[in-house]
Symmetry: C4
Subunit: 116 residues, 4 copies
């Protein structure tokens, strides 16, 4: 079997790097989605609680009693932060997928008979 | 040593796939069993609590005070959901074990002298 | 280099198995010690609390208010259970270390010139 | 290719050992930094709480109600302990980095043409 031309080898290396970047972005997205889901679940639970129901918030190994209004505010802010990060990661994912497709097309055209 | 016939090689590949599926189902079962056990322990603890004993429920890093009756209901629902999932996984496990035994018998009969 | 006699090879295999068993027992001991330490820390914290200080106990994601006396009792029972398990594991560890030393001595004497 | 002189091989082994020690110190530093950050976050949360806001402290699976002043004291002590450990680890890191640079320089000078 003939060795691949140097140019194709370089492109395959770039392809692999793009795939690793994509994998990392996808796994970050899953983590942020899980944290957003948790914030949303907490938010729902807090909203369903009676207005005078005692509410606590855990920070490290400490529990502090908090006002419902303040807790709702904090959780909404948390949720918004996760949404911003999710949007950024989704954009990154899209760009990486585009570049991957381009790279795959280039490699295929270089390996096709016309290019041989 | 002679190489195995292609048909046997294919069956060995299928056997390996079935074993991996079985392993995944068994490990899912163990996870669901652990979550069911946790729900049962919580349920017992809540039932043993006095009817007016303060009870809290953790969602993410938030603790919300809940009524005993509502908490019992939620935990029973949780437990029931885990039981449904456990039953489904146990059925899947049984079918996979059957198919594994069949596959092993087929391979053995193909490798036995009469089949050689 | 000469191959080791079959008997020595068997003993080396047994030696390796003993070492793995020892490793597993030692790591179980460390886990139980950590859980015992946690029970002791909780116990100290609960004892230092005022007799009418509110105390809660976590089971899964549920927090139940408990009486100081009952909590102390439960934690002492927990601690005692861990101590029983620790003693059993320490005995197992001792026996495994003895058998390992014996096995190492046997192998050494078989590999020594007088035995060659 | 010529084999490396024994002395250089020894130094490369030492270099590798230094790199592993450095890695271990750096990862310990990251852990202690995370715990210090958590203590600081808890401290801020507790300080922001009203003077009569109920505060709880988790030890194992037990929650004990604590006075604000005592909790602040405990968290400040925790934070100070982490700072002491961080300083010690930072010093260790600095010394290891120095020794690594020295070792790298020695190896380079031994492999340079003048030394050949």
């Amino acid at each position: 079997m003939n060795e691949l031309p140097q140019q194709v080898q370089n492109m395959l290396a770039q392809l692999q790097q793009l795939q690793q970047q994509l994998q990392s972005v996808v796994s970050q997205k899953m983590q942020v989605e899980a944290m957003k889901k948790e914030a949303e679940d907490s938010l729902e639970e807090v909203r369903n609680a009676g207005d005078d129901a005692p509410l606590y918030k855990a920070t490290g190994s400490v529990l502090v009693k908090v006002e419902k209004s303040r807790l709702v505010e904090e959780l909404e802010e948390k949720k918004a932060t996760y949404e911003v990060r999710l949007n950024a990661l989704t954009k990154q994912e899209g760009k990486l997928r585009e570049r991957l497709t381009e790279m795959q097309n280039k490699i295929q055209s270089m390996l096709s008979p016309q290019a041989g």
